[in-house]
Every structure is written in C-alpha cells, then in structure tokens.
C-alpha cells in the first residue's frame, strides 16, 4: 500500500515534469486530476493550502508542490519520492542536450509550434481547474469579493507572496469576527 502510494507520487510528478511546459502553476491541473479527483488522497482545500504555501516558502514552485503533496500523502518518504519524480526527467533531458548537443539552438518551427500548442492546451486545463476551484471556494458574498480583490491585485502587479500574506491577515480577521457564520456556510457548501 505504502509502496503503491510512493510509486504513484514518483510517477505522477515524473509525468508532469516530462510533459508539462510552463512551470509552477501549469502543473496544477494534472495534480488536481490525479490526487484530488481520481485517487482522492487529498481534498481540494488541501490543494489550495499547498498553493498558498508554495508562494510563502522560498524555492522553485515545482519542488515546493512536490514536497508538500508528497509529505501530505506519505510523509517524508512521499516527499522524497515526489521530489525525485519532479526532478529526474528534466535533469536527464537537459543532461542529454548539454552532453551531446551543446550548441543546440531552439529554432525548429515544429518544435516551437508544439510548445505553443502545449501552452494553449494548458490554458484550457487551468481554466477548467480555476472554474472548479472558484465554484467551491466562492461560497458567499464576502468570499466572492475577496477572490475578486485578489485577482485585481495580481493583475495590478502585486507579488503573489504579498497577496497570500494579506489574504491570511484579512481572512483571519474576518474568520474570528464571524466564525460561526462562516462555519455554517462552509458546512452548507460542502454538500
């Protein structure tokens, strides 16, 4: 059972690293599909915690999310398995390029086309993930307004780390002012 979980973590993150172009948040739809919807190893809310954490802890987002999700699902061994998976494919690909094609310049039109295509495909995938997340999170007027404010701030150019920090402070304030109501509304939204 444990071994199966470790393999799933390694394999999923290796797949993400081998297929997905665009770094960090582009990994999200695959993570959501595998761990939240199909295997049900973490909840949508826990995935949101991981995303917030990735903005607060230093380091590249891919490694942060691999470690956090691996840790959540299977402890320290899970974190190592997921991290190894996230690193290995791109490490090998780049090693191959650096070793055998040191002068490679990436100007093949089909190659560029395929990458533009993947970026567009990822746009569609993230749009679906965003839609689902928004429907689950925006359960009341205050939540809708807060999310709208976050999107506006991000478009304005405020850095994600600051945004999460302000959200935490504001959210905590609101949470303790109206704890009971939120509790009721959240449990209503769970159904």
């Amino acid at each position: 059972m444990m071994f199966k979980k470790l393999w799933l973590l390694f394999f999923t993150f290796a797949k993400i690293s081998a297929l997905v172009v665009g770094g960090g948040l582009a990994m999200l739809p695959v993570i959501e599909e595998t761990f939240v919807r199909r295997k049900k190893l973490i909840t949508q809310e826990e995935l949101l915690d991981v995303i917030a954490l990735c903005q607060m802890v230093p380091g590249i987002i891919a490694a942060n999310s691999a470690v956090s999700i691996g840790m959540k699902i299977a402890g320290i061994a899970g974190a190592v398995a997921a991290l190894t998976g996230a690193v290995l494919p791109s490490f090998l690909v780049i090693l191959l390029i650096a070793w055998f094609f040191p002068g490679l310049s990436p100007e093949n039109p089909y190659w560029l086309g395929a990458f533009a295509g993947i970026r567009a495909g990822v746009t569609g995938l993230i749009a679906v993930t965003a839609w689902k997340t928004a429907r689950r999170t925006a359960v009341g007027t205050v939540e809708v307004l807060a999310i709208a404010a976050v999107v506006a701030a991000a478009l304005w150019g405020v850095s994600p780390g600051i945004i999460i920090m302000v959200s935490i402070i504001g959210g905590m304030f609101w949470f303790f002012c109206s704890c009971k109501r939120i509790g009721k509304r959240l449990s209503g939204g769970e159904k």
């Binding site: 081998a18 997905v20 172009v21 665009g22 770094g23 948040l25 582009a26 739809p29 695959v30 599909e33 949101l48 915690d49 995303i51 903005q55 802890v57 230093p58 380091g59 590249i60 987002i61 490694a63 470690v67 956090s68 959540k72 320290i76 974190a79 690193v87 494919p89 791109s90 690909v93 780049i94 090693l95 650096a98 560029l112 086309g113 533009a116 295509g117 993947i118 970026r119 567009a120 495909g121 990822v122 746009t123 569609g124 995938l125 965003a130 997340t133 939540e143 807060a146 999310i147 976050v150 478009l155 994600p160 780390g161 935490i168 402070i169 905590m172 609101w174 949470f175 303790f176 704890c179």
Partner: protein, 188 residues
C-alpha cells in the same frame, strides 16, 4: 570541490527564490554571466530559451545546464540537488507543522484566508497563460492585441475535452502539442 561549491551556491539561490523558477534567472546572471565568468550573454540567453523550450520546471532545467557547464555530470547533479534540498526541508517542515495543528482554531483562520488568496491566484494564472498562448506580442494600452487563431482553437478544444468529455490531462497535453506542431508553422 567544484561540486560542493555548486551545491552551496544553488542552495543559496533556492532560499532567495520566492514565487518560482523565473526568479532564478537574475540570480544566475549575477553569479555566472559576464566578462571573465562562466558564460557569455548570448550563451546564457540560449541556455535559458532551451530551458523554457524543454518540458519540466525552468528552474531545474537551468540549474542542470549551468551545473554541467561548470563541473560536468557531477556539477549538474550538485547544482540540481542544491536547488531542491532547502525546499525539501522547509516545505516538509511547514506541512508537518500544519498537519500537527490541523484542529487549532487559529490555523483554520489562517488557512481560510490563504485558500481565498490561492483561489484568486489560480484565476490569475488563467490570465497569464492566456496572454502567452491566445495573444501574441506585448500588451499595450490603446492598441488592439494580436490574436493567435491556433492558440484560441487549442485552448477551446482543451477546455471542452476536459470539462465536457472528461479527457485525461496527459492526452490533452499530447494532442495540444501535436496540433500546435502542425498548425503553428502553417498559420501562426
């Protein structure tokens, strides 16, 4: 010796790098690029674009590349390990801290706000990705942006296949890449 130095340098980069791998590029520039250093500006630009045009996290790709140029296979291993090692410790500690305090009220308050922020950032990510795929060229006030037909087409196909027909993400990515390889050279 070079390997240890690379490991420590990339540990430092990892700790300085907030909000993702793109932050790494200015740090690398300061350390490795310029006269008398490892890389020329052109070589480094080329390295960064190869990193962006191969799958996988841009941070890992550039670390592996720079490490290899500096110290061969062992260099690339040391640089990549250095880039992810601090994350393993810090993110691991953060998650076990959250798990240990799951039932505390103050943590629920923190997570309530953090989740709303994260949800907003996911919506923002859609805008970022749309700007890279559906639009082409820079956005400017008062100018109609250039639209990529292929980009809109693939985004729409991907959205419908995922939301309506429940296709697996792996297939969506492979199909998007194939359509792009055929259509982008033809119609842009």
């Amino acid at each position: 010796m070079i390997a240890i130095h690379l490991f420590l340098t990339f540990c430092k980069f990892s700790l300085l790098c907030f909000g993702g791998g793109y932050m790494l590029i200015p740090l690398l520039t300061a350390e490795f690029v310029g006269e008398g250093k490892l890389l020329t500006v052109e070589r480094f630009g080329n390295l960064v674009s190869i990193s962006q045009l191969t799958p996988g996290p841009v941070g890992i790709n550039t670390a592996t590349f720079t490490g290899f140029l500096q110290g061969g296979f062992r260099g690339s291993l040391a640089a990549t390990a250095g880039l992810v090692f601090p994350t393993l410790i810090l993110a691991g500690l953060a998650i076990s801290f959250i798990n240990a305090n799951k039932d505390k009220k103050w943590l629920q308050g923190i997570l309530y706000g953090a989740r709303l922020g994260a949800a907003g950032l996911i919506i923002f990510a859609v805008v970022i990705f749309a700007r890279m795929s559906v639009l082409t060229g820079e956005l400017q006030w008062g100018k109609v942006p250039q639209i990529s037909i292929t980009g809109i087409l693939i985004t729409a196909i991907s959205f419908v296949l995922t939301a309506k027909f429940k296709w697996k993400t792996t297939w969506i990515i492979l199909v998007s890449g194939a359509i792009g390889a055929v259509l982008v050279p033809l119609i842009g």
